[in-house]
Amino acid sequence: MTKASRYYRVMLFTLYLFLIICFLLLALRSTPFDPKPIYMGLGYMAIITIGFITMRIFALNGDAMLFLLSNFLCGIGLVMIYRVDEELAYRQFIWIAGGIAVFIVITFLFKYYGHMMNGYKIIALLSLVLLAVTIIFGKEHGGSTNWLMIKGIQFQPSEFVKILFCLASASFLKDHKQPRDVLIYTGFVLMVVLLLFIQKDLGTAIIFFLTGIVFVYTATGKPAYPAIGLAMLAVGAVASYLIFAHVRVRFDAWLNPWLDVPGKSYQIVQSLFAIGAGGLFGSGLGLGHPEYIPAVATDLIFSIMVEEFGLLVGLAVIIIYLLIFVRAFLSAMASNNASKQLLLTGISSMLAFQTFIIIGGVTKFIPLTGVTLPFVSYGGSSILTSFCLLGIMNSLSIGEVQ
């Protein structure tokens, strides 16, 4: 066994130990000892094991790393979700299982079928259509109308569009880098942003726009483009502040949350209290107060995580995310294939922006917007999409090993 393999084993067992302790604690929390959390813990560990073995069997070198990192995030997320709402945890479990399957399948298939994604026109069109459909038939949930109901299951098409967007952007920009092409691309990005804006999904709109900037810069290398892009963002931000009341509310709550604590800035204030109350080592699993925090299982999961596990764990989580993103960027740099480079950079940036925006929002670093924390937050669409994107990244970086 190589030294590295040994470390992988250790990592795996550390993860198991962590999960088991957490679920044990959750089981002990109810006065007649409740065995259900233990089953969930064991179940999840089983799924991780199956996934891990599957990956090793197919000799995927070095990428058990991504698998382990993402599962750690899912794991700590699952623990928090169970602690907050048992029902949601069962559902999240299913989503994670599905996500892992998606991850493994995509890691393999993308290698071979990846080139089929070159039809950027169709993909771009599909994205816009999906978003438009959401606007027309969309159901509102938590302040934004970006949910679709099909046969009793709620999902967010905007999540799926993330995948399409990256594929379309990469395949378009790898060959078309002239200013004229950039203009066309910008038009596409703006349309996506607009459609998202109509759905009141501001956070996701910003993510798409920033990712668009990264795609353009990576493809062309001209700093003028990100400069113009950021300027457009600034102008857009100011304009939407002036026009839309709900933007004003978010922005004002960010600047001075103490003006209307029981009303408009309730979310961010409670989030700050939770983060502060945890201290460095947390208040202890189950000893915090998620009931004070709205949307605690989805957008604000980071807050309750820091309250109960402590800021040190929170920082570790951020570092884990960073490792995933940096790894993707470095493997992009090592590649010589333009479309691989673009895709890797773009997808990694998209996830990075999403992570940054929600953690930043929840800590009042930036205004709070409603996006999920990848892998950690509850949300079927979010988990599946994140794993899908991760799988694509994984698939792209394997090639570099040989």
Partner: protein
């Protein structure tokens, strides 16, 4: 009572998380950011200096096409192959004329390599290090 337990274990959990992080960094140090670095290699026995890094599937033989080229008349054109899977590195004889030996014994089917194994391709010996 539960408060005491939860309070106690929070230190444990935080350490586990950081241990996890530490392991990740160690793996990155060993195998590179995306697993590109070699985690095992073959060292030439005669001078102890020549190192062949083993990354994935490696073909060893006299042919110029091979990943590791051994210039010796007793070495077949395609002598042996080393494959990597989740359990480690395995060596397999590719129907060579003189056979492949691991630690003196001729191998008939795939054999798992351990640190320190001496592999002989004819007269040429290479040590496996991980």
């Amino acid at each position: 009572m539960y408060e005491f337990l939860a309070g106690l274990f929070k230190w444990v959990l935080a350490s586990l998380v950081y241990s996890f992080l530490f392991d990740t960094i160690q793996i990155i140090r060993l195998t590179g950011w995306y697993g590109e670095k070699a985690s095992a290699c073959l060292i030439a026995d005669d001078d102890g200096k020549t190192r062949y890094e083993l990354k994935g599937d490696t073909v060893i033989g006299r042919e110029g096409d091979c990943d590791i080229v051994l210039n010796n008349q007793f070495v077949s054109l395609k002598h042996a192959g080393i494959t990597k899977n989740w359990r480690g590195f395995y060596i397999e004889d590719l129907k060579s004329s003189n056979g492949t030996r691991v630690n003196g014994r001729i191998i008939k089917k795939r054999k798992k390599l351990s640190d320190g194994d001496i592999i002989a391709f004819g007269p040429i010996k290479l040590t496996y290090r991980s």
